[in-house]
């Protein structure tokens, strides 16, 4: 009996030490994540884990065995194709000719066709950490990095992590979200971020003027992530301050549309040939100024086949 009790007493401290060591190690892991470099290593692993854990788009084993997964996949592809074609048939036929004529007249770089992916919200995180949603579309469905999400109420957020079959969207209502916005009527510019009371706070306001109570707040297109003119919400007054009530809360259909972000390449990415260099080169070969313009124009048009398009598809 005494031997047994002695054995138990010896075993207990080992468990106690194990608990303390585990607690210290977990706390160390927590602290280590304050380093951005370590976080950059951890985040991809977390994305894969979330993709595996929470994506309902992943077919089950039985579905794979019975071939239902392949059939469903094909049906989804065809449905997407039909949706895409229906969209384009009605729009393209009526508009293409006119648009081309207008663009020729105005010498405008054409807008890219807006192509997005509609995805179902599989899980929502509205706890104390981040306001984010997980949707069942990832790189396999054509979601791109930096894509933004909208629903029938307006802007929902921005894709911050992409997996193969799922993406995580940071909501505009999150404290860490920053959206350049403007008032629809007043034209005032500001930066919008989510706050603790489910309303948006406007910051970086101009010194003169202010937003008008009740006016709609739209994205201003600055920063190159969200295109201009997407509804974000409406200006309301709370506690004497002008706040923004998010439009996305009106659309609770459980679906979001993921649209590719505006990707305007910076000038350094596609530099225009230096005028003096061009002049030197052509001057040596041709000897007059006329070919310079032609060469420069050709180079620019070759270097920027799609770059002028503000959407990037």
């Amino acid at each position: 009996m005494a031997r047994l009790r002695g054995k138990r007493l010896k075993a207990r401290p080992v468990r106690r030490y194990a608990l303390i060591v585990a607690l210290v190690m977990l706390f160390a892991v927590l602290l280590a994540q304050t380093s951005p470099r370590l976080r950059a290593w951890i985040d991809p692993a977390r994305t894969v884990a979330a993709d595996q854990l929470a994506s309902s788009a992943r077919p089950g084993l039985w579905d794979r065995i019975s071939g239902k997964a392949a059939r469903d996949e094909r049906i989804r592809e065809l449905e997407a194709e039909v949706r895409e074609l229906t969209r384009y048939r009605s729009v393209a036929i009526s508009m293409a000719a006119r648009l081309e004529a207008y663009e020729d007249m105005l010498n405008v770089m054409g807008e890219p066709p807006v192509r997005g992916v509609t995805a179902r919200i599989t899980s929502e995180t509205n706890g104390p950490f981040r306001e984010a949603i997980l949707v069942n579309a990832g790189t396999l469905q054509g979601v791109q990095a930096g894509a933004y999400a909208e629903n029938e109420g307006g802007l929902v957020g921005r894709v911050v992590q992409i997996g193969e079959r799922s993406s995580r969207v940071l909501l505009v209502a999150d404290f860490n979200s920053r959206v350049p916005v403007m008032g629809e009527a007043s034209g005032m510019r500001a930066i919008l971020f989510g706050d603790r009371d489910d309303l948006g706070t406007l910051t970086d306001l101009p010194e003169r003027g202010s937003f008008i109570l009740g006016e709609r707040v739209l994205t201003s297109g600055e920063g190159g992530i969200f295109p201009r003119g997407i509804v974000v919400g409406e200006v309301v007054e709370r506690g004497g301050a002008l706040r923004v009530e998010f439009g996305m809360n009106r659309g609770r259909g459980g679906f979001v549309r993921l649209m590719p972000s505006m990707q305007i390449p910076p000038p350094e990415e596609y530099p225009a040939p230096d005028a003096t260099d061009a002049e030197d080169d052509t001057g040596i070969e041709a000897g007059d100024g006329a070919p310079v313009d032609e060469t420069a124009e050709t180079a620019t048009s070759e270097a920027l086949p799609d770059a002028g398009a503000p959407g990037g598809g």
Partner: protein, 186 residues
Amino acid sequence: MARRRKSERLSAVAGIWAETGPTSRFLIGTLIVAAIGLIGLTPKTLFDTELVWPYASLVAAIGWGRSGLGFRPMVVLILFGLAQDVIVYAPLGCFGFINLAAFGASSLIARSFDRERNPLISTVAPVVLYAVSFVLVWLFASFSGNHLVQLSPLVNVFVVTYILHILTAPVFDLGRRVGPLTGSMS
């Protein structure tokens, strides 16, 4: 007659549960936490009202802690914690730390007090443990987000988790008794 049959059935279930060993109880508890967690992954609204989902792993941590320290509960609680971190976008290790801290504290209370003769302790201790755990969640979330996060959602989760505790506490009892052997010779 019907009431008698029902009570007989309940006592039969209680009898089976009393004969169940710690390993089986532990596995059943693990499955319950996993099931609650998996259901919690889906969007949950009822008549346009968002439902609050409990932290089942915390209930398990406090329940298993009452039966003393053990390696298997620790490992499972760390794994549940990591899953929670991934799901709620918390820093990795956050919920593992909270689960283990709750587990250790629950074990410490079970060892220090004679709960069977002090019903007050067995009533108050879980409330205090849940409160401390949710304060830890709030602190980690506030540090992680660089701002003080709002308390009201956490209070809601706290209440729901405590309700789950009331309903399922016996399931997370591993059947081992720890604590001071009052009245016995040391």
